[in-house]
Every structure is written in C-alpha cells, then in structure tokens.
Symmetry: C4
Subunit: 314 residues, 4 copies
C-alpha cells in the first residue's frame, strides 16, 4: 500500500495510549501461544497419536511461547502469563495500574486462541466425538484445552507442582533477561525463553501437563465451558480448575524472590556512576528521538535492551 | 580458481538486472525448500516409517525453509512462497512488477525440487511402487509431493485451515523481522522463520499437512501430473488442488493486516526525524557503494537489515 | 517493589564477598540442572515411558545445563560440575582456594535438586512403588537420581567411558568459550554448551547413562541413600558409585590438556601487545567501575567476555 | 597452571608453521565428528534401538559437525571433509599445497574417532556380537562405522545420491558463510552448518545413510578392516566403498558451482572501493598483530569473519 495510505491509517488508528497498545500486544501474543500450544494437543489427541506425540506437544508450547514473545516482546514485554505479570509487579517492574489490564488481555487472548483451534479442527472434532463433547473417559477432548490432574495426584501435590513449575519458569526468565548475568543476546530471548517451556515440559509434565499459566489454563477452560463441554470442566478432578490458577501466581513470586536473593541482589551496582551515565545518555537521546521516550542506539542497549519493559529502568 | 578467472566470469555472466538476480535466488531458494521438505516425506513414506516419522518431516520443512532463507535472503528476501509475496505486495513492500516474476520463479523452483527428489529416490520409488505411480490407496506416493485432505475434512474447513495456517506464518514472519519489535538478530532470522514452520507443523498438520504455500503445493503437484501419476492429482479429494493455492493467498494477507492493526501501526514513528536520518545516511552511503543501491555498515543496519527487501525503506 | 525497598534489601543482604556469591550461584545452577535433568528421568520412568523417552531425557539434561549456565554463568562461570572446576584449576583458570567451595556448593545444589524432584513427584513415586523404594529390578526407581552400569559393562570400560565422555565435554566447552577460535557469541554459550550434553547423550549414553559429573551423580545418590533407598545405592553394580566420581575428574583434565595441546597452545599470542592493551584497558576501567573489579564495555569484551571467570585474564 | 609454566609450554611446543596447526585442527575436528556421529549409531545398533533411533543418529552427526566446527573453525576453517576442501580448492579458497595435508589429517582423525568409539563400547560390542564382527546380516555391526547401500539401490543411483547430498551440503555452507548474503552471525555458523546435516539426514538418508564425506566414510571403514571385520567391508554392496568417496568429491564441486552461478557471481562488488578499504585495514592491522597475519577487530569482521580461511580475502 502507498506510503500515503499508510500514513492515513496511522493518523486515524494509531494508538497514542501505551496501555492500550500493550493490551493489544498481550492479547495477540497469548492468542498465538494458545493457537500453537493447544493446536498441538488437538492434533495429537484427534489423530489418536498418529500425527502427534508428547514431544510435538512440548514443541507446540515451546514455539508458541517463542512466537508470542516475538509478537509482543517489543511492545508489552510479552508476559502472556498472569503469573509472570504478578512477579514483575512484585519486583517493581510492572506498574500496578497495568496489572489488571495485562491479565484481562491475556485471558481474552487465550479464550480467542482456544476458539481458533476449535474452528481449525471443527470437522476433526465432529469426526472424533460424533458431536458429543466430553470431559472424561477414552473419547474425552476437554484436555485439549485445559489441564486435568493425573489419577495419582493429590490437590496438595498438584499445588506444589504448579509452584515449582512456575517458580522455575520465572527464575529462568529473570536469568535470561538479566544484563548483569550471562543474558541472552537481544532478539534471541524469545527462543531461549521458549526453551524453558521445553525443559519444564519434559521434566514436570507428568502430574498435570505443566499449565504454569492461569490465562493459558482458565481462558481455554472457559471456552470449553461455553462451547459445549459444560460445567464438568470445572468440577472434574475434585474442582481442579483453581489449582493451575492459584499455584502459578504463588510460584511466580517464589521464583522471582529466589532469583533476587541468590543472584540479582549481589550484582555489583555502582549506583552513583550509573546515575551519571544515565544523565549523559538522556542528554544524547533527547536530541535523537521526538516521541518523548528515550531511545538510544548505543551498542550496550542494543545488545541488552530486552527487559520486560522496565527491568533496568525502574 | 584464480582471481583473474573469477573476474572474467563476473564480467561475462554477472547480472546487472536486479530482477533477474532476484528471480534466480527465489528459484534456488524454493528448490532447496522442496528438496529437503518433500525429500523428508519421501524418506518416511518409501521406508514405510522405518527411517522417518512425522517429526522428521516437520524438521525437513523447517530446515528446508531455514536453508532457503540463507540461500536467497540477502538477494530477494527469500519469500519462496507466493502467499508471502502477495502479503508483501499488499503491505507495499514488494513492487507490483516484481510480483509475477517472483511467483513464476517460485513455481519453477518447486517443480525442479520435486524432480530432484524423484531422481534422488528413483530406485526406491520403483522398488516401493513396482513402477505403478498412484494417488490414493495404501501404496499411494503422490502425497510425497503435494497435499491431500484428510477424510474428515470438508472443503470449507480446508480453506479455513489454509487461511489460519498461512495467516499465522505471515504474522510471525512480520514480527520476527520487525526492527521496532523484539526482532531476531541479523543472520538468525532464517532459523527463527524456519521454526514457525515447525510450530505450524506440530499444531496445524492434521487436516491436510500444512501446505500454506501455493508454489510448494502446486509446483510439485504439476510435476507428479507429468511424471506419471496422471490427472488424479488434480481430481482427488473433490478437486482439492485449488484450496492450498487460494487459501494461503487469502491467509497471508489476513495475517499481514492483523499484524499491522495489532502491532505495527502503533509503533512510535518520529517521521520527521527518520527522514532527516535517511538523508544523512544516503549521503554517507553514496560515497561507499558503487552499484546504485544503498549499503551502509552502521551497526544498526547490521543488526536489523534483514527486511524482506524494503520493509523499512519504502 | 519500590526502589527504596530494593536499596534497603541490597544494603542489608547484598554479599560483598565474591566467593560466597559464587557459591550461591553454583548451588542454584546445579539445583536447576538436577531439577530439569533428573525430573525428566522421573517423568519417563514413573509414567513407564508414556510421557517420556530417551530423547526427552537428553533434552532434560541439555536444557538443564543451558538454564544452569544462564542462572550462574555471569557470577561463577557456571561450572556446575566438579570435573569442570578441576579442569579449570589445572588450566590455572580457577583459584585453588575457590575449588573446594565450588565443589561443595555443587554437591549441595545437586542434593537439593534431587529433593525437589522427589517432592514434585511424591504422589507419583508412592503410586509407582507402593512406597517400596528399591534400587534394582523392574520397579527400581534409584536410577532416576544416579547412574547404574549396564549389565554388559566392566568397571574398567565404565571408567574409560567416563573419561571419554567428560573429556569430550571439557574439550568442547573450551572450544566454545575460546575467543581466539570460532567461539559462540556472548549470551549464546549456554545454549551451545547445553548441546554438548545432547551430543554426549545420543552417542555415549549406552554404557551407564553419561553422568560425566561427580556432583550430578553423587549428590542425588546421597539423597536416595537417606530418603529411603538405603545403602544399596552404593553397593549396586559392584560398588559402581565411585566410577562416575573419579572418571570425570580424570576425563576433564584429559580433555583440557588435549585442547591445550592441539589448539590453544598454537594460537598466535602477541604477548607484548596484549599486555599494553590490558594496561590501557585497566586505566579506562578504573574510571568506570567502583567495585574493584574490571568491567569494560568495549565491543570485543561484550562479544567474548564469557570466560569461565578468567579464561583470558589469568 | 602458572602463567610462567604456560609461557614455557608455549615457547617449547607452540607451532609457528600454520599448515601443521591447521592439520592438527582438522584432525581433532574430524575426530570429534566421528566420536559423536558414529557413537550415536553404535548406541542405537548395540542397544537394538532401546536407547537410540534414527532421530538421535541425525542429532549425533548434526552436533558432531557443530562441535567439530567449534573445535577447528578458527584455526583451519573446519572443513573436516575432503569434499568441502576440494570445493574450496576449486573456488580458489584453499591453497593447492594445503589440500593433501587437510585430507590426510581428516582421514587420520576419522580413523582415530572410529577407534575411540570401539574403545568406548568395547564391552557392548563383545556382548552384542559374541566377538564375531560381521558386515552383513541381522547381527552386523560394520554399518556402525561406514555406509552400506540399501537393497533397492543401484550403483548409479547411489552415486547420484552422494552428488545431490554433498552438493546440497556445500551450497548451504557457502550461503551460510556468505557475508554478502544473509549469512549467519559470527560464532553461530557451527550450529547452522550442523543443521544442514540434520536437513540432509531427514531427507536423504534412505538410500545409504548420507555419508557425504569421504573421510567420514573411508576412515572408519579402514578401521573396521583392520580391527577385525576384514575385507568384506570393501567388497560388500558390490564394492560400494568407492561411491561415498567419489560421489561427494563431485557433488561438492557441483554445489559450489551452482552457488557461484545462481548467487555469488551476481553480488554487487565495488572492487575498487574494497581494495582501498583493504589497504587501510592492512595498515591498521600491521600495528596490532605480530604473527604476520591480519587480525582486525572492526565490528564488521567480528560479525562476518568466519570465512573458511580466505573466503573474502583471496
């Protein structure tokens, strides 16, 4: 399209309000995560394992997170997970006013992603289920969208599972984006953050399939509730549904605190010097950008600027 | 060979015309994609699963795209897919006059790639089929080259499948090469773009095997039509052949528009400043290069210069 | 949390003593390695292969090492393996006084990681074993935590296996972090170092499951001894336990010496020039940092600074 | 070890002669390739598929190449394959006098690597074969070390297979290290070059297992001939042994010529300017290095300097 058209589009529709931009990004990122993630479960279940297996499901969620972070990373920090948003809030890296907006966008994105998977495989669902959408038993399909506990699992162990899993997730994310540690290079974080999901999938998937994300679990579960699977999606597994909501919120904070206490707190921080440096940087940058924000193209920033919005700037 | 020989070669054969160069690159890139992609299906089918499985087929197409982008990326942008070219055209990132040339080169490359796979495995084809090349049934081999729908799939759901799959492909490509988002570093885009294919393969492969590329599907299908499989390759699956041609074209545009509306449109764009910067850059660069184009070695360009030919320069 | 709170935390708890910081990092890194690594074995064994296989175990240890290096790399160099620490000591890249501290932290981290895996899968362990934790036989679970030799394996061949495996590990690590060779870029070393584990896992896993790390093997073995598996964990396999402790220590040194003799020794080293450069660097840096250490932001360091603490600085 | 000791070592043993250094690097690189590659076949065959499968074998050779390139890349360019060396010779990127030295070192490295795999799994070989080392039949083990053709394969198709496979390998390598195309970033080439092997393994492995490297195939075959498998290793498959020697040599040159004609020849080359730039660079660098070679630390070189010794400098 012509440059002019594009400028017109921009003038009419471009959002000045950063919180709305970020909400759109969180929505689209979580949508992509669920599209690839739950899509890979659907492919495996609906083909009765013929064109999918545990490993391809792990790959689906791994690359779902990777692509989600590419889609939303530069705009909202790509939390795509309320547990990550809560951890960032506790660490002072997300403003309180943004927290409910992020979480709502994540839930809506996950709900929409589940709907897209259902549309993608509508014929396959009808073929597999003869139109009877059920939650338990050999022809169950509800676990395509949300987690259900293994038979061996108690509620307590399930909660611990979600705390450990989400703790590991947030701890590793913080390490990967920590510029004072051995952080991933700019633009490769999405891949490496995705690989945390793979690590968790192969090691912590046996109990209940590593939801470790309240939006990823509850959003699609709500979709199944309204799309024909009914209330069983909440009552199954001794009302399991609230464990993958509450466990990750606790686990994310635990992981963040552990990383802070074991690693981040002890980084040398030449506070005074940094402040000087920042004021210099600010001066340089005011000249360069016109949008009110600070965007400098020093090498250091280029290589370390991915920071979940405000990791180093708070 | 001697430097002199090489200079002679260059003087005689080097193409001054950029559109022919780009056509050669699109041809070779699509050839490589099909060689690795359809080769991996051939290996799996002809060994009856003994030295191949769904996952190795996903790897074949994933790395086929990755290698295609390394081969053609710096010359033509490595669309290797008419649906990507059309999306770029609609976004104003590919000139109209180049579009038919790109598409033709892609189809020819895919046709040649299919022929190479047939040559590579000629003995295996004869051994497997006893020389009878058929499209359906347990000894069918046509699906090595082109997609055929699953039994459960309606034409409508097949079309939706191709729109969603190609939409996801283009949306993720645009995110990965978007320098104002969390884009992949220069030289790593081929790997990350390849991983989109893996994500689609594990999550959207059940309906018809994720063609999501008119050249990748129709080119090899034409090869099978002339190489001995006959007209059935078009009539099978209720004339399925036109779905993986039309669906991706629609899907690519849908994905591009979604990325534009949700993300790209809202990037801060200090228009005036950028224009100034460009004019400065232009001055510097005129000094440096002699081929009429602009090639600057500033760090920013080095880290972000992969742009599907003109992503930031239109 | 508020900047003020954070500064308070820092003032109260931040460790000035670098050896304690490094011990914390080695502890947490080894903990993460075991959590993902032994977790992936537990998932495979306790599901009787339903949600795990050899490949997912390889992925577990591969990404366990990758995440461990992200967690600890920038602080302690992320040896997370006494055999690596010993090799670094012999190469003069780790101070003697730090060696026992590193090794102790690694053992404690591995012990704690094993405990976390046991907690994560407590219900699954009880379900699988009916509470009877045994070392050998079809319902054995001790090999989730530590290595046991295959039936075909003699003690001598087992020792050679550990020497070759750990030798390959250390040789490849040294190549990957060697800035004068074709080293991995800053921030990507954790991924590439993890891939050494994958290479070893697919090629050297048949004899006894590639422990190649005294802490990874003996730490969790000690956990099983106290957690209910009893003394059999030491006596099984003709007192196998000491082979994966002694073999790696020898192998790591062998690998380091081989890399030194074949590659590192022959790098051109303009000794005098480098010393000059260093003194210049030192001057610049003294101005920049306040913590006594030297941290320069030249590009070269940024791209090559990961060096197991002192690879180029000794 | 003390700095002094190290300096002593260097004074006594460091090689001034670059061709000997490069031979050592090629030897060690090819050794590592075979150790991981043939090791992964051994693990799969000797466990009768219990701890290995086609995919882990592909991973073994993929990461074998990756680690080989990390080990030797910065010294010799890490050809680790006579077909690659011949292609470089034809392209004028390897001196004629070095060619036989490289090839000899590659063969010796491959032979030594095969011996190491035999040592690693000596007990497992004895257990599997009862000491009878045979080339064909259900208990054959010779194919752990060298390629043998599938039953369906004619000599002609086998030769074509090796030409196509090695052609694809060299074509992709040239694209990946081509700084004027979309080349891989410095330090990531080993990983991406390894992935070519994966692409070939999943798509071209059915005929004879993708040797595509005379040293990788003939070196270990010679080992089996002397280690107890006897002359059958040469006579089997209608004297198959010379196909994976001659085919790759032809294929490598074909791939190089194709890349030259389709892509490299048409890159804009502002000859004059580059020469000026080089002379400036030379001046700067003479100051910096003392070993007669040119090693500059400009950013451009850092990001693009991996060049199979002389890709851009001839």
């Amino acid at each position: 399209m012509e440059r002019k058209t594009r400028r017109n589009l921009r003038e009419r529709f471009a959002l000045k309000n950063s919180i709305v931009k970020e909400a759109l990004a969180e929505f689209l990122g979580t949508f992509v995560l669920i599209l690839f993630g739950c899509g890979s479960v659907a492919q495996t279940v609906l083909s009765r394992g013929a064109v999918g297996e545990m490993l391809t499901i792990h790959i689906g969620f791994t690359l779902g997170v990777t692509m989600a972070v590419y889609v939303a990373g530069g705009v909202s920090g790509a939390h795509v997970n309320p547990a990550v948003s809560l951890a960032m809030l506790v660490l002072g890296k997300l403003k309180l006013v943004k927290f409910p907006v992020y979480v709502l966008a994540q839930f809506l994105g996950a709900f929409a992603g589940a709907a897209a998977v259902y549309g993608l495989y509508y014929d396959a669902f009808m073929d597999y289920t003869n139109g009877i959408l059920i939650v338990t038993g050999p022809n169950a399909t509800a676990h395509i969208f949300a987690s259900y506990p293994g038979r061996h699992l108690s509620i307590l162990n399930g909660f611990i599972d979600q705390v450990i899993g989400t703790g590991a997730l947030v701890l590793c994310i913080l390490a990967i984006v920590d510029g004072k540690n051995n952080g991933a290079p700019k633009g490769m974080e999405p891949l490496v953050i995705g690989l945390i999901i793979m690590a968790i999938g192969v090691s912590m998937g046996l109990n209940c399939g590593y939801p470790i994300n309240p939006a990823r679990d509850l959003g699609p579960r709500l979709f199944t509730a309204v799309a024909g699977w009914g209330r069983d999606v909440f009552s199954a597994g001794r009302n399991w549904w609230w464990i993958p909501v509450s466990g990750p919120l606790v686990g994310g904070v635990v992981g963040a605190v552990l990383y802070l206490l074991f690693i981040e707190l002890h980084h040398a921080e030449p506070q005074k010097h940094l402040e000087e440096e920042n004021s210099v940087k600010e001066k340089k940058c005011r000249k360069i950008t016109v949008d009110g924000g600070l965007k400098c193209k020093t090498f250091e920033e280029l290589s370390r600027s991915f920071d979940f919005r405000s990791l180093n700037m708070k």
